[in-house]
């Protein structure tokens, strides 16, 4: 045991030196076993500071280094690189944190110095037992999967594809476009949504780099960053897409004349059992809904659709298909579900006609919608007064506490459209106007100029009197209760996490924040990453967003993916676990506790083994192993005990 350790004490200006006697630490260090040289310096992280260490390494043939300075989170990488450059394995470095854990939290110089000595002693004891470790490298599959083909998924997929990489784009729905495809005009510029969006959906269909899976869901994800294996289940549409021309003859032929509420039209129109979701759908193919199809649900039908289809595309024998793919990175862009206003019965949704959600209004106002863009009541007449109620299912402890961010602007845009199309009196019931984006406040002003009445008070309830809908609220600025008769009430329904968000989170191993949306790795600095390396988030699945923010986040996620894929290979920390086959008794406790499913049981040998690629080095297995067979690099029992011993000596 002939180790040569260099110990360096940083003053950090006065951050450390004001409270800790650095010279005393130098004298103290020189007495410890294995220490060849000890020095102090004003700023070790500076170039002259680092040069000082480098010079010592060369002159004194140092083989281990202890830096007593700030938290390892700050400069561990700096000094590891220094060691690497000098030909020493970077895992033979140890940082003694005498700033955050000592000088910053103490006043008494004498006692602080004593504590710093203890920390230093522990660090030196530990570094003696540290082992050289080698960073692992893995190749990266040069392709990505994007889950969800709304505006977020489409933007990300197009970005990645334009970078020359392969993208697999998966959506549960039979078409791409998500909620944006349902919108009429977009705030604040009043661009027609389909005008700006259709070029993108068409490009997805055309782009050779993008492989599209509609009516499909991701069932399983295994592997790790750079090397994910995914199983995609393609659900039967009972129409052979290769043959279907999207002519629509089958729709007319379907015997289900009364139809069922159309999902795309938010129940504002009906569709047959075989249907094309909407005229601009990509892909423009017919699909069969097995719930409403008489043949598939009841087993009996004249199959008039099959007769009508000249292309012979309808295939009731179609089965679900499972496709396996390997991708280097994944973007989750599964979007949102609108809040269900039936959960707040005071608003009479589902009880009265002519109370609709904001998405239903979009369909009503859309030129491709059920009324060809005319805003009409259920009985076909033009409304004379319309109320827009903000914050339905948002900013409400009884439903969702979060602000859905888009409803203020969406409501005001809809008020504008309604005014333009009907000339009706329009009331906006609001708590606060959140017009936060570029051009949004200007739009708010414009809508006010158009003569829309803004009532500062949340709608309390809607009931019926003399055949009209009455919106009850308080005009809080006047301090007077109001009951305003209207013909149409539009509920500004909030955005919520998808109903199946938990299932998706489990499939991908990501977590959710308290509001139910998927959680980003850091709310400010890593807003598109998840805590799973190689899996990123885009759009409303991470939290409510308007279209500009969604597109920005999608491009950011695509950039993350591309930078990962472009590297070709990735380095992975060697601080992972291993299981000693000689000691393992095969009790499987480690398999049970491992949060990353990184331990497998070798049936032939009757022992457990760590999959190095999956292990994240959390240490759970080493703690639970009753036989001390599980061992974690860089945190071995010897190293940890030496450190503890150093502290308490």
């Amino acid at each position: 045991m002939n180790k040569k350790i260099g110990v360096y004490i940083c003053h950090c200006g006065t951050n450390i030196a004001a409270t800790v006697d650095c010279e005393a630490l130098v004298r103290f260090s020189s007495t410890m076993p294995g220490v060849k040289i000890a020095r102090d310096y004003r700023y070790l992280c500076s170039d002259p500071g680092q040069d000082l260490i480098k010079k010592d390494i060369r002159e004194h043939s140092l083989d281990r280094v202890v830096i007593a300075a700030c938290s390892p989170r700050m400069h561990e990488t700096t000094f590891r690189n220094l060691l690497l450059a000098e030909g020493i394995n970077p895992y033979l470095l140890n940082i003694a944190n005498i700033r955050e854990q000592c000088s910053w939290v103490h006043h008494d110089r004498e006692k602080a110095t004593e504590k710093a000595q203890n920390i230093l002693r522990a660090a030196v004891a530990r570094v003696l037992g540290q082992e050289a470790l080698t960073t692992r490298r893995f190749g990266v599959q040069p392709s990505a999967m994007v889950v969800g083909a709304g505006i977020a998924g489409i933007q990300a997929a197009l970005n990645i594809a334009s970078g020359g990489m392969k993208v697999i784009l998966v959506d549960q729905a039979p078409f791409i476009g998500g909620h944006m495809a349902q919108l009429d005009k977009t705030f604040p510029t009043l661009d027609c949504s389909s005008c700006i969006f259709t070029p993108k959906t068409v490009e997805v269909a055309r782009n050779k780099q993008i492989e599209l899976f509609v009516s499909s869901e991701v069932k399983e994800v295994t592997g790790f960053v750079g090397n994910f294996k995914v199983r995609i289940q393609k659900n039967p549409t009972y129409v052979n897409f290769a043959r279907c021309t999207g002519c629509g003859d089958c729709l007319e032929a379907c015997v289900l004349k009364k139809g069922v509420p159309s999902e795309f039209e938010e129940g504002m129109a009906r569709r047959r059992a075989i249907y094309i979701p909407f005229p601009q759908a990509v892909p423009l193919k017919a699909i069969v809904d097995k719930e409403s199809c008489l043949l598939l649900s009841k087993g009996k039908c004249k199959k008039t659709c099959v007769e009508a289809c000249k292309a012979g595309a309808i295939d009731f024998d179609q089965k679900e298909e499972v496709i396996e793919k390997e991708v280097g990175s994944i973007i989750i862009a599964t979007g949102y579900d609108p809040f269900d206003p039936r959960l707040l019965p005071q608003y009479g949704y589902g009880v009265y006609d002519n109370i609709i959600t904001s998405l239903q209004f979009e369909r009503l106002s859309s030129p491709s919608g059920p009324n060809l863009g005319e805003i009409l009541l259920k009985d076909g007449t033009v409304p004379k007064a319309i109320a827009f109620l903000h914050c339905i299912g948002s900013r409400d402890e009884n439903t969702n506490l979060h602000c859905s961010r888009i409803c203020c602007m969406a409501s005001m845009k809809q008020a504008h459209l309604a005014k333009e199309k009907t000339g009706a009196e329009i009331y906006e019931f609001y708590i606060d106007i959140n017009a936060f984006g570029k051009g949004y406040q200007e739009f708010y002003k414009r809508v006010r100029e158009e003569g829309i009445f803004f009532i500062r008070g949340k709608g309390s309830e809607i009931f019926k009197r003399d055949g009209r809908l009455i919106v009850a609220a308080e005009d809080t600025l006047l301090g007077t209760p109001v009951e305003i008769p209207v013909d149409l009430a539009v509920l500004g329904t909030g955005l919520t996490a998808r109903r199946d968000a938990e299932k998706v989170a489990q499939t991908f191993g990501i977590s959710r924040s308290a509001d139910g949306f998927f959680m980003e790795a850091h709310p400010k600095l890593r807003p598109v990453a998840t805590q799973v390396d190689g899996i990123f988030l885009a759009g409303c699945c991470q939290g409510p967003k308007d279209i500009p923010d969604t597109v920005a986040q999608a491009s950011a996620a695509a950039a993350e993916v591309m930078s990962l894929l472009a590297r070709g290979e990735i380095e992975v920390e060697p601080t992972i676990a291993s299981i000693d086959p000689e000691l393992c008794a095969g009790c499987k406790l480690c398999i049970e506790i491992c949060p990353h499913s990184a331990i497998e049981f070798l049936e032939m040998k009757g022992i457990s083994a760590v999959n190095e690629a999956l292990c994240k080095g959390c240490g759970a297995c080493t703690a639970i192993c009753p036989n001390k067979a599980a061992r974690q690099n860089h945190f071995t029992q010897t190293q940890v005990l030496a450190e503890v011993e150093g502290l308490v000596t």
């Binding site: 900013r395 500062r456 008070g457 949340k458 009931f463 809080t476 209760p481 109001v482």
Partner: protein
Amino acid sequence: MKIDPKTFIKDFQLNFCIQCGTCTGGCPVKYRSPLNMRRLVRETHLTDNFSSISKRAELWACTTCSTCSLRCPSGVKNVELIMGIRNFLANKGEVPSTIRDALENTLLQGNPWGRFRDRRADWAKDLGVKIFGEETSETLLYVGCAPSYDPRVQSVSNALVSILQKAEVDFGILGKKESCCGNEIRRMGEQALFKKLAKDNTALFKKSGVKKIITISPHCYNAFKNEYPDLNIPVQHYTQVLADLIESGKLNLSKGLEISATFHDPCFLGKQNKVFDEPRKILASIPGCDFIEMDRSRERSLCCEGGGGRMWAEGGTEGKRNGEIRIREAVAIGAKTLATACPFCLLTFEDAIKISGLADQIVVKDIAELIAESI
């Protein structure tokens, strides 16, 4: 028990208020009194002079129906604030004289009307009802004050006894020993008296071997279910019991009634305790009963103004009573019977029918009375 106005902000989460006005907009007395719940929250939050706020007569207009606090998006405890202010006044002896009498009566005679304690069970004299202490049973029919003394509501008590007897339910009443549940007492601000009633009643129930409680009034049901701290005895409102008896076939409704009826959801049964379906199930099972739903039903039911001590308050409100509005709503949909399941609703509607001159067009009945007619 005293509530200190200085802790109102914290106790009732006044600082959570975002001043959206949901409370005021949905308040059943918003056009009947100057009470503005949103403004009250704000003023109580900011005031240096609490006494000036607490002197306002409209504080006694609140029916404690709880529409405001149930809908509040911020978790402000509006109704608790009203009760807190009333408690402050009760402790200073500054409550209106009719309220003061109701509180004193309850202390002395165990009921807010001040009727004799000893005559509480007179209504049941000839009904052959078991009395806890004299005979044993596990199920208590907790009668309550109005159903014990008020001649109109006694009819409900009688009806319910005959139904339970017909269904061969083993039950008893507490007789003279029964005291007020305290639900309205707490709402009139007398927290200490409520606490005493809760303690005494709980001890009496336990000593009597009560294993299950059935109440006639939703107000008693609310107190036992939600506000008695140590009760631990299952409580049901009678509509829940009857719905079960009908569903399990133990109660046969044989006589057709040939009525068109609607149902008014009492606040303490419906919106506060979410018992919406059972009364409707019962009405639907009466042969010949054509059930029509009013527009404002279930969570959107309009308070009759009988709660929160309003039975004993005088004035403080103006304009058309909600009871009258409600009667007119029922008449407008073609109902000939307005059914309810709460003594206070029953009484306020009886008054409203007289005032509105609609007695030849509609009658108000408790569900128990309708069932008793149908067996």
